[in-house]
Amino acid sequence: MATYDWFFDSVGLRGWCDEGGADGPMTMADLLAKTRGQETETSLWDVPFPSLDALHDSCKAVPQSRDLTQGLEAGFLGIRDALRVVIDPLTQPLSWMLREMLSLMTQSPWWIVIPVLLVIVWAVARSWKIVGFIALMIGLLAFVDHYHEAMQTLAIIFVCAAVCVIVGVPIGIAMSRSDRMQRMVIPVLDMLQTLPPFVYLIPLIFLFSVTEPKLYGIAIILYAIVPVVRLTDLGIRLVDKDVIEAADAFGMTNRQKLFGVQIPLALPNIMAGVNQTIMMSLAMVVIASLVSAPGLGVLVLRGIRNLELGVGLVAGFGIVVLAIGLDRVTKASLARIDASQANR
């Protein structure tokens, strides 16, 4: 006799209950109760919450909680093939880009890669101090034989951050121009930001093969795209209303306004978003080593798995050094943009 029998009896659903009585496999709790022998009358103190499982005890037609998780899984597996037909070709370029970038940065000799990186740093930051700092930083990592892993991590970050900017900035612009679009996108961004990163690794593993780089590529992009979208939207919305009105009053088209006024004036905010996006992709690239992302994260993971304290700490320190370097370079370019419109 289960707790909620009286409910189904009194509302006259007993017939329906017994009809749907195809009993599934026993739960562990049932099994334990059975081995203990007799069913005892439950006291008021022990009345269970009318959950799916408790109701199932009284009425076999009510599904159990495990049917929910199983249903979700079956549902996902059911649409998986259809999803793959759409998503696989769409995301294939990401795999190519990641593979090419990884091989480019790790196969090329170090005496080409390091100078090229330093030239890029100079082009972005225009400061010899920063260039010197980055040279020191790469030199340090290479000196302790972490050069290869550091380059792998950097390659992944470059590709993912670039994709984030290419996809995120237009989304941000669209949000800034339409309140409805903003209302639709913000909950998605909130979800991406609050969902623990491990959680969206799970469906991705089902969707793609673990050997494909796009698996971790997508995970990193989903995690890191949020700030650049948000700050692009914010930046464009914060552009001085008077200046926009002047642009209107002189007959600018929407396109002239967007590229001639709004984006240039929103650039400091957009660059702040890019900085955050790069930092977040660095954070995620470590977690993504769980799903075969190469780089410093793998060493950290090894440190955890095998309790190799030194390996984990050195690799972790390497990540910190990379983070500081990336942050300095993007901040320097941000400061350069800010200086050109200091009066805002």
């Binding site: 008077d242 002047a246 009053a249 002189f250 007959g251 419109q341 805002r344």
Partner: protein, 347 residues
Amino acid sequence: MEKTNDIKVSIRHLYKIFGADPQAALAHVKAGVGKPELLETYNHVLGLQDINVDIREGRITVIMGLSGSGKSTLIRHLNRLIEPTAGEVLFDGENILEWNDARIRDLRRKNMSMVFQKFALLPHRTVLENAGMALATRGVARQEYQAEATRWLDRVGLQGLGDQYPHQLSGGMQQRVGIARALASNSDIMLMDEAFSALDPLIRTDMQDLLLELQAELHKTIVFITHDLDEALKLADHLVILNDGAVVQQGEPQHILLHPNDPYIEDFVADINRARVLRVRSIMREGEIDGAFSGDVDHEANLESVIARAEGALDRRYRVMRGETPVGVLEMPDLMRALVPRRASAA
């Protein structure tokens, strides 16, 4: 100065109501509901109420009112930055409210330029690029608009500053860039929204003089918004006084000063230095001069200069001259009477 009295833009029965359902509120307003009642009962704000103004070509029309009187809203209807609830805006006889976006854009690019209270320059462009903004918007390449933009920058007194950025200039200089930007578009109409209100008094006087000087040369059709009566009287050929979204009185500024038709305007003009603002032509007696006179005065001279000339004596009479021709006579007692504000209620 003698230009045709053609009407360039005319505003007809213009209403603007802010709120959720302006058309329904418009019906209430036309049925006689006032501004406070509309806000209280129907939760709509009456922005503009039955505005009729003719803006004549080549003249400065000043629209004056305190903040909240709807003057900035009104000027934005002229180039349709704001859409009216009802009414017409006729540009050369055509109702621009029926025009499509492309045509409005063309109007804004070629026929109407605007100067803003907060300058609204593009902070990321140089002064030269800002001055050439209207031309660049039309698709003119930099090499081609450079000469034109530099010419107007020189004209407003900003020689050699073309490569600076706006934030490197003072407020007054930034507004000169704003004026150069409007002039460089070569539009025949200039809309000036409280253009000098953000400047300090000395700079403001300079800018007013600059505007009058430019106007004497260029004869643009200017619509000027201000909350400052002194500024309005100095610049206006035609003065429109707004209060609570309705025109209280409009006409020639001297006429309004001498014949206010509303207590609101009487209060307004009470603090004005009348001797400096009123001109001889407004209070002289027209016609042939009979008898002796003490001397000649110009018809545009202000009363202050006449009092100084008469050394305060009340028994003088002056012949009023327009150029070389006598046009009337000025009696000192008339002058003294004009110095005391006349109450519409007492008249």
